[in-house]
């Protein structure tokens, strides 16, 4: 009898659980650890100053929001790391932290004499310390302050995984037509508004083939659009465009900001592209390399060059150090020789704390036992990328 009762008890538990499941559908609310996102703009880790030109030491370790329109204009074709893009999508706002390397760069650029030959700034630092995002911050400044952007989001893509390689008209050279066209599209989206405003004209006639040519005095937009529609000539168009830009800026008609991420890829001992005789070619035999080496030399004025050297731009066996001299090699180092190095480092304590606060605000860290911040600090060594990875599953 006793057993029976026990058994019945169990069955009633079954039915209550069946009901509970129905209830569960509607109530799955949980009190979150952090509240008060409504007052976002007054948080101590945020700043309302959205113009990078106005950022100063006051705003170090604070987040500023890039307006959606500008983000679309500058970063549609790349420029933010993929995982950061994902984070932006999740948090439904594009925030960047104001950090000292970017401020240093902005300070240099603001006080530079543009009539002098261009100054090359080289961002360097260990993996995942925020070189690309520092560059993004400066790019935002450039876009707002009427610089024409010549931006290569990640140069190693051309050397490591090109869409297609074909023989160029020049003997022994290889074209990357699709990548060049993609870059032209990127250039166009970044600068469409400014190009319309400035009405820059080509200085000479470009003859692509017997029937096709771009006459002297046509606008740069026409030149770019020709390259996009005739993919075969995209690389030559890029060469033409960049030499035109150099001339125009030297003549004082426009300001140019060159930003190349992973610049050392242009000086890597070899690429992953194979020539006709099944041998790996060196980067200097890729036609796309030439214009970007050309625009990073100091024989023009009215512009700034921001380059970054990155260990990840190299392949295995060439990744021992993150110093520019090692990564660029002799040829590369001599190419950009008088340059201003800007070291990007791991977070400072203040920046780290600010980032943790930001994550808490965005409900990205949900577990806050005592001392979790110290644990994360210890485990990530205050490295931005490692912190991002660690926090993902919290």
């Amino acid at each position: 009898m006793k057993m029976f009762r026990k058994h019945f008890g169990n069955l009633s538990r079954v039915s209550t659980q069946l009901q509970r499941n129905v209830l569960q559908l509607s109530t799955n609310a949980e009190a979150s650890p952090v509240e008060g996102t409504a007052a976002a703009s007054v948080n101590e880790f945020r700043t309302a100053v959205a113009n990078p030109g106005e950022h100063s030491a006051l705003h170090v370790a604070k987040f500023y929001t890039i307006p959606v329109e500008q983000k679309k204009q500058i970063f549609t074709g790349g420029g933010l790391p993929k995982q950061y893009e994902q984070q932006i999508k999740t948090f439904t706002e594009s925030c960047l932290m104001v950090r000292s390397p970017a401020l240093e760069l902005l300070h240099y650029i603001k006080n530079a004499d543009l009539t002098k030959p261009v100054v090359r700034y080289v961002l360097y630092g260990d993996n995942g310390v925020g070189k690309t995002l520092t560059m993004a911050h400066v790019l935002h400044y450039g876009a707002i302050n009427d610089f024409l952007l010549v931006h290569v989001p990640w140069a190693p893509n051309w050397m490591k995984r090109p869409k297609e390689a074909s023989n160029a008209t020049q003997e022994g050279m290889l074209d990357l037509p699709f990548d060049a066209a993609a870059w032209l599209v990127h250039f166009k989206t970044q600068n469409a508004k400014l190009l319309q405003q400035l009405q820059l004209k080509t200085s000479k006639e470009y003859v692509w083939s017997k029937r096709e040519s771009t006459p002297a005095g046509s606008t740069l937009i026409e030149l770019v659009e020709h390259g996009i529609s005739r993919i075969k000539y995209a690389t030559e168009t890029t060469v033409a465009l960049i030499s035109e830009l150099k001339q125009l800026s030297t003549a004082g008609q426009c300001k140019v900001m060159v930003a190349i991420d992973g610049f050392n890829a242009f000086f890597h001992p070899e690429t992953r592209i194979f020539s006709d005789n099944k041998q790996r070619v060196t980067p200097d035999r890729i036609t796309l390399t030439q214009p970007f080496l050309d625009i990073t030399s100091y024989d023009w004025t009215n512009g700034v060059c921001i380059l970054s050297v990155d260990k990840l731009a190299m392949t295995e066996g060439y990744m021992d150090s993150y110093m520019p001299r090692y990564l660029l090699g002799t040829a590369g180092f001599e190419h950009i020789d008088p340059f201003v190095p800007v070291h990007v480092d791991n977070y400072t304590d203040k920046e780290f704390h600010s980032y943790i606060n930001y994550y808490l605000d965005r409900h990205w860290i949900n577990k806050t036992p005592k001392g979790f911040e110290e644990q994360l600090k210890f485990m990530s060594n205050k490295n931005p990328y490692t912190l991002m990875q660690l926090v993902k599953s919290l």
Binding site: V14, L18, A29, T90, H363, L376
Partner: protein, 217 residues
């Protein structure tokens, strides 16, 4: 070690065999680093009690959780725990991403969306725990499916196994983390295949209630 072994032997002679090599009076180790929260009188209890050594998987970090740890062990194949850890953390990330995005996009009921992936996992496991199971018992030459109560430990095991089964069953065009994440989210909201499987089992137990007495007679 010899002492422990003889202890275990003695226990088995006395009539029951414990799975642990430590006798029952050994205390569980405390898995917390900050001992300040304990008051002294509480700690004095442990002065003369032998304590089991801590497992090497015990940890006091933010990343640790009991159910998470169990789930991790069930995902592991061929002892490749490192891979399993990556899969589980990716799963939790996907859950959190989905929930966080949902929360930020719906400004009115912000507090209603749960962004704590670990809580969601625990909810899912708790929701899909069965209360009874069927065992086959032979009476008079016929096998009967007899509903029997289930231990707590086994119910946890089953719920986690079912979650994983459901994830593995799905179309493998997407990776395990994605599949598992959607299964967990479903189960946490009391829907989905795992909950259905549990309910089916319960229904069958209910319909076989007439055989329940075969458990003891």
């Amino acid at each position: 070690m010899a002492v422990f072994y003889s202890n275990a032997l003695r226990c088995s002679i006395n009539g029951y065999r414990s799975m642990s090599m430590f006798p029952k009076h050994y205390a569980e180790p405390i898995k917390r680093k900050d001992m300040e929260e304990f008051n002294k009188s509480e700690l004095t209890k442990f002065y003369h009690i032998p304590i089991k050594p801590a497992l090497n998987s015990y940890s006091d970090t933010v990343f640790n959780d009991e159910i998470k740890g169990k789930m991790l062990n069930y995902i592991t194949k061929n002892g490749n725990k490192n891979l399993a850890r990556g899969l589980l953390s990716r799963t939790l990330e996907i859950i959190k991403r989905a929930q966080t995005e949902r929360m930020h996009l719906s400004p009115d009921d912000k507090q209603k969306v749960n962004t704590n992936a670990e809580k969601i996992l625990i909810d899912a496991v708790e929701n899909s725990r069965p209360l009874l199971q069927l065992t086959s018992i032979k009476r008079g030459g016929v096998n009967y499916q007899v509903p029997v109560p289930i231990t707590k430990k086994r119910s946890y095991f089953l719920s986690m196994k079912w979650l994983l089964d459901a994830a593995f069953e799905k179309d493998n065009k997407v990776g395990l983390p994605e599949r598992l994440a959607w299964e967990i989210l479903d189960a946490a909201h009391g829907q989905g295949r795992v909950i259905k499987r549990k309910d089916d089992l319960h229904k069958q137990c209910e319909s076989n209630r007439a055989y329940a007495h075969y458990r003891w007679s």
